[in-house]
Symmetry: C2
Subunit: 352 residues, 2 copies
C-alpha cells in the first residue's frame, strides 16, 4: 500500500483536542482508500518551552525533515510571548522547509452562516495564495538613536524575482485547475513605490504565459473592501506575505468560517515536508473542555491528503464535512449545537 | 466676521461635479452661522498634466501655503498613471504640509445599508486614525541585479519616534472627546519584528498618560476580520500608514458608506493647511453625467469646518445629511434613488 510519513505536532491548547479528531478522520480515510499513514508524534509546545527553555529540541527540524508532511494543531499560550512560541516553532518550519506557499480556501459552507447579508455558498468560493517566506516579514532591520527624539526603527521589505515569480506561478497553476480560471493580484503600487510596482511587473509577465486565465488587480485597501462588498468576484487571489496574511483572515471572516478554516504551508516541489494547520489558534478560553470545533483541523487533514496525492480521499473528507453541516449533523457550540469535539470527529470519521 | 481662506481643487472626473455641491453647502452654512469663506480655485488635474506635463504649476505648493484649508475633489484619470497623478499632486500636498493625520469616520448612517447582516447605525460608529507621512510608504528603497535571477527590490518601512508618538497621541486625544473613550492599536508585531514591536512599545507608553482611555490591540490580519465580525467593538482605531490605509477603506465598506465617506488630512498644529477630500475616486464611468453622489464631498466639507473651528456649522451639516438619508430625501442612483448630483446638493444646502 502507499505509505505516507506524517509528523504530528498537536502544540498548545485546543490543538491537543482537535489533532486527535483530525487523525481519527485521516485514519478512516486511509482504511477506505487503501493507503497507510506512519505517524510520529512530537509534543513540542509552550509547555515544553516552560520546562526546557525551548519550543522544540535543537535537532527538531532534522527530526521533521524526513516526513512527507507535518500535521500541526495550534501554537501559543498566555505567558509565552509570540516571538518565543511562533519564532521558536512555526516560523522556522515555514522558512527552513521553504514552504513558500500559504494556501487558504475561503468558502461559505452550506449550513454555516456568513456575517454578510444575502450571501450563499455560491457567492463565496475562492482561494488566497500567500507568499510565505519573504516580503514584509524580513529579517533585515534595526533601531537607531534609542531613547532619543531622533529614535527610529526600520525594516526592509524584500521581494526577490525567484520568490515573487514562484508564488505568482503557483496561483496561475491553481487557477488552471478551476472552473473560472481567474487570478486577482493584491498590490499597493500607488503608495509603496519600490516593491509593489515590481510585484505588478512580475505579475504581468507571468500572465503572458497563461492566456486562458483572466486577471485583475486591486490595491490592498480597496481589495479588502471588495472582499466585503463583492466576494463573488474572486477565484484565486495572490498576495505578498503581509497582504496574503490579511486577505487569508479576511476571506474566512466574510465566509463566516474563520473558526473552521483550514490552511496549508506548501513546498510545491516536495523537496521538504509541507505543513497543514487550522487557521484558528490555541483558544485558551475553551481549552481543556473538549467543546472546540475540530472541523478546521479535519479540513486541514483533507488538504494534506490532496498534497500527498490522495485526491479521492481528500474529496471524500470535504464532501463529508459539507454534508454534515448542510444536513444538521452534530455541531459544536460555536455553530449553535451542543456536541463535543469528539462527537463531531466521530461523526465525520464514520461517514468517511 | 470670521474669515477662512479655502483653496479649492476639484481635480478630475466627478470631482468637478461634487466640489460645486460641497461649496454650495459650505456657503449655506457660512450664511447661517455668520462666517466668511474666501475661495481660491485651482484647476489642477490630469487635464492640466496632458496640456502642460505637470499636475500643478512649479509653485503650486506655495500657492496653497497661505490658505487655511484645501478642499479637494478627486485625482486620477485613465491614461495618466498613478505615479504621475497621485505623486504629482495628492502625495506632495500631504507630505509637504505635514498632514500627518488621516482621519476617517466609519459610520453606518441611518437609511443607508451595510453589506453586513443585522447591523444598524448603533453598531458602526468609529474613527480610523492613520499615520499619513512615513511607515510603509517610504522613499528609501531600490532594485538590484535587474534582469537576472538574482534580481530583488527592497523598500524600507520607517517609524520615527516623533512620527509614531504624534499619531498615537492624536488618537488618544480624539478618544477623550468621545463617549466610549477607547483606542484600538493595529499591529503585526508577531510577524514584522523590527518596526511593529516599536509601534507597540510607543503605544503602551502613550497609554500611560491617558488612564481614562481603554485600550486594546490586534494584529492587522485578525483586526480586519473583527471589522467584519464585530464592528461594534471599535471607537478609535489607530494604525501605521499602510494599516490605516487598509482599515480606512475596510471601515467604510463594512458601514456601507464607501461611496459617501469623508476624509481629512490634518496638520493638527495648523502650521500648514489641512486637506479635506471624499474617499471615493474620480469615477470615470459616471463622470460627466451629473448623477454622482455629492455626500462624501459635503461630509468632507463638514470635517473641514470642524477643523476651522466652526463646530456648530459642521454639526448642522452632518445632522442634515443624516436626516435626509433617514427621511428618504432625494438620493442618487447608487443609493437607489433617481436624483441628480445637484438635487442632493441643493436639498442639503437648503436644509442647512
Ligand atoms: C492614492 C493612494 C496613494 C492613497 C493612499 O493609499 O494613501 C489612497 O488609497 C488613499 O487612501 O487616500
Ligand atoms: C502567527 C503569525 C506570525 C502568522 C503570520 O502572520 O504568518 C499568522 O497570522 C498566520 O497567518 O499564520
Amino acid at each position: 500500500a502507499r505509505k505516507h510519513r506524517i509528523a504530528v505536532i498537536p502544540g498548545d491548547g485546543i490543538g491537543k483536542e482537535t489533532v486527535p479528531e483530525g487523525l481519527r478522520v485521516l485514519d478512516a480515510a486511509a482504511r477506505r482508500f487503501g493507503f497507510e499513514l506512519e505517524l510520529t508524534h512530537h509534543d513540542w509546545s509552550c509547555e515544553t518551552y516552560v520546562q526546557t527553555g525551548k519550543m522544540m529540541p535543537d535537532d527538531g527540524l532534522d527530526r521533521l525533515r524526513d516526513s512527507d508532511s507535518i500535521f500541526l494543531g495550534a501554537v501559543g499560550w498566555p505567558g509565552v510571548p509570540d516571538h518565543v512560541s511562533l519564532w521558536g516553532l512555526l516560523i522556522p518550519i515555514r522558512r527552513q522547509f521553504d514552504q513558500y506557499i500559504s494556501l487558504r480556501p475561503c468558502r461559505l459552507l452550506p449550513g454555516s452562516k456568513s456575517p454578510l447579508a444575502d450571501r450563499g455558498p455560491e457567492d463565496i468560493d475562492f482561494y488566497v495564495v500567500r507568499e510565505n517566506t519573504e516580503g514584509e516579514y524580513s529579517s533585515v532591520g534595526g533601531r537607531m538613536f534609542p531613547g532619543t527624539d531622533r529614535e527610529f526603527v526600520s525594516q526592509q521589505s524584500i521581494l526577490t524575482r525567484i520568490g515573487t515569480d514562484r508564488v505568482i506561478k503557483y496561483a496561475f497553476e491553481l487557477a488552471m485547475t478551476r472552473k473560472r480560471r481567474k487570478v486577482t493580484s493584491a498590490t499597493k503600487s500607488n503608495g509603496i513605490t519600490f516593491t509593489m510596482p515590481y510585484w505588478d511587473e512580475r505579475f504581468a509577465e507571468m500572465a503572458k504565459h497563461y492566456p486562458e486565465v483572466k486577471t485583475d488587480q486591486f490595491h490592498i485597501d480597496i481589495l479588502c473592501a471588495h472582499f466585503v462588498q463583492h466576494p463573488d468576484w474572486f477565484d484565486v487571489v495572490v498576495g505578498s506575505n503581509l497582504f496574503g496574511d490579511i486577505l487569508s483572515d479576511l476571506g474566512p471572516a466574510v465566509a463566516g468560517s474563520i473558526g473552521i478554516a483550514a490552511s496549508a504551508n506548501i513546498n510545491p516541489e516536495k523537496k521538504f515536508p509541507s505543513m497543514f494547520e487550522p487557521v484558528h489558534g490555541s483558544a485558551p478560553d475553551i481549552a481543556g473542555k473538549w467543546i472546540c470545533n475540530p472541523i478546521g483541523q479535519i479540513w486541514s487533514g483533507a488538504m494534506m491528503l490532496e498534497h500527498l496525492g490522495e485526491k479521492a480521499a481528500a474529496d471524500a473528507i470535504t464532501a463529508t464535512i459539507e454534508k454534515l453541516l448542510a444536513e444538521g449533523g452534530p455541531r459544536t457550540r460555536d455553530m449553535g449545537g451542543q456536541a463535543g469535539t469528539v462527537d463531531v470527529g466521530k461523526a465525520i470519521a464514520e461517514a468517511v
